[in-house]
Symmetry: C2
Subunit: 352 residues, 2 copies
């Protein structure tokens, strides 16, 4: 038993999750350009090679460098271009086909002045999610940015990139489908206007649930490689598709309030949570019966407090360990910085 909080990965489930998404992409005729921000692992990245993946997606320049060093040479940094980091784009673009996102023509112009290499630019489209991008209906601004790219010396239009992150508000496959379909319907109008440019779409809920990607030509989901307890709530997957879990020592039990103290806190799980009915969960214990009244109720730096029903409370013992599904596998992996397998292997993480 692990004496400290430890992150485990089940590689069979990872393989099956990748196979399923690759097969969906193939059947639905979209290019599969998986996002590697969830696993951030060369070893896990290599598993995608078996599925003819050659183009990948990352969320930072640092991550692009990490995977370039493992032989990936067609990389999209799915984050709007940072004009302070042009030297890094030049370095990367000298060694691979590099693409990133843009939103404004001012940024395209600033980039172009300092670029010495060719850089593909996806115009980021905001599908009414409200985080980043040009509004999906603002064709004038989109056209203006596209013209600026076409007029530039070093940039070329790679297409449109659209992350429908508001599918995370869904709590059923039907709700995911409704949100994603609304975005895809609007993207169809964009496709009519700019038929030659590929559209890259794809958060994990949409990509796990939709049976038609409409005008999208590419998908770039990331979280599906592991899934997590949040994705179960959204409707993207079932618990047996979650490929990572934390193993944490049970430190003490508090009979009066039916709570269990584990070693496993915000520096291990992250502080992401999901609202489930009346309670806010920071992690789901993998007990014999998964139950809505047994969950991690609070986290501080190193402490985790599991609220239990009576059966769960009785089944947990001090001096043993407990397995827990993380709420958000991307952030938990980012903090844990390596992966253990049940047969004793240790896999890399970029932060390790």
């Amino acid at each position: 038993m692990q004496p400290f909080p430890t992150l485990f990965v089940d590689l069979e489930t990872v393989h099956s999750n990748i196979a399923q998404m690759a097969s969906r992409a193939n059947e639905l005729s979209v290019e599969f350009r998986p996002h590697f921000k969830t696993h951030q692992s060369k070893a896990i990245g290599r598993m995608f090679r078996d599925f003819e993946v050659s183009g990948i997606t990352v969320s930072s320049i640092k991550m692009a460098k990490y995977f370039l060093n493992d032989g990936w040479d067609d990389i999209t940094i799915a984050f709007p271009a940072n004009v302070l980091a042009v030297n890094h784009y030049n370095d990367l673009a000298a060694k691979c086909s590099l693409k990133t996102l843009v939103i404004s023509k001012e940024v395209v112009q600033k980039l172009d002045r300092e670029l010495s290499r060719e850089l593909g630019l996806y115009i980021e489209i905001d599908p009414d999610y409200g985080r980043s991008g040009i509004s999906i209906s603002d064709f004038d601004t989109i056209e203006s940015v596209l013209n600026t790219i076409n007029e530039s010396t070093h940039c070329y239009p790679a297409g449109f990139y659209c992350h429908a992150g508001h599918t995370y508000q869904a709590r059923s496959k039907a709700e995911v489908t409704a949100i994603a379909t609304k975005a895809l319907d609007k993207l169809s109008l964009l496709k009519e206007r700019f038929p030659d440019l590929p559209i890259c779409f794809g958060d994990t809920p949409s990509c796990s649930v939709l049976n038609d990607f409409g005008p999208a030509d590419q998908i770039s989901p990331g979280n599906f490689v592991f899934y997590d307890w949040m994705q179960v709530q959204i409707g993207s997957c079932s618990p047996n598709e979650i490929a990572v879990y934390m193993e944490c020592p049970v430190i003490e039990k508090f009979e009066d309030r039916k709570q269990v103290l584990i070693h496993g806190g915000a520096v291990h799980f992250s502080k992401d949570s999901v609202q489930i009915g009346n309670y806010e969960s920071f992690g789901e214990p993998m007990l014999k019966h998964l139950s809505s009244d047994t969950y991690i109720k609070r986290l501080s730096q190193e402490h985790g407090i599991i609220q239990c029903n009576q059966e769960a409370f009785d089944s947990i013992n001090v001096g043993e360990t407990i397995k827990i599904f993380p709420i958000h596998s991307c952030l938990t992996a980012d903090l844990m910085r390596k992966y253990h397998t049940s047969n004793g292997q240790v896999l890399d993480h970029m932060n390790g």
Copy 2:
């Protein structure tokens, strides 16, 4: 300007924060046993040597090892004992005066069976905070655990450890004082019953605000070394006492919703937040005027969205950087894993 999110520390402010807390401890006649979980830095730890600090507090076995390796030899691991990690306690206790916390006699007995070295045990007292410890009024259980420690072969009673974490719910010095005083009043009864055992008290809000520690003999605050925007809300400090800030590139501006996109997300700041009036803040931009309507509104993995008032929006420029006070400096430092100073030094962090 930094092209990536970067954590800066102002060592003059750190020095002043330490000096002030050491001076308070001295004036109020308590031993200063600072918690090192916030900075997790050997370089910053050494600054405490100037204030005659010799006993320190940490939150994990890993952290105890880190500071033992820098010459600290009186270390309390302020987390309840983990019976799966007895070998680690033996290793540490062979090289320093080691103390940790216990809550139940079963754990004392399990530890004692496997210990080969002397281990000091603080009985953890829960001051109606509800996270961990024996209820502050449950003298029978406290006495029973104390007897078990006294009967053990390898353990001795180090005292009582009491973390009044519910002071974090306060929003003024008066509220901090009210919560802390209530806990100290109850600890006075404990002191009457067990006069020979030292009481260690001290979250940062209490230690920053109280002018009398009552029955407490020791204090072990940690966050005060840096403070943060949450501590400003609580009433522990003023903004100019915050010793760390993030510097983040400004990526894009969204005029229609008065929002600014920065590179700086959950993997940099952590997802801790503080409710301020009607909004939930994930970070406070250090603009000319600190204002309640300009704050980090949301974080995803790499994205931060600053909601601005008009003046703030107009003052922020794409291609520059923006300085931001973190909500919870412990978790931000834990993620950033090193500290930069304004004169180009880089200081260590345990995770680096």
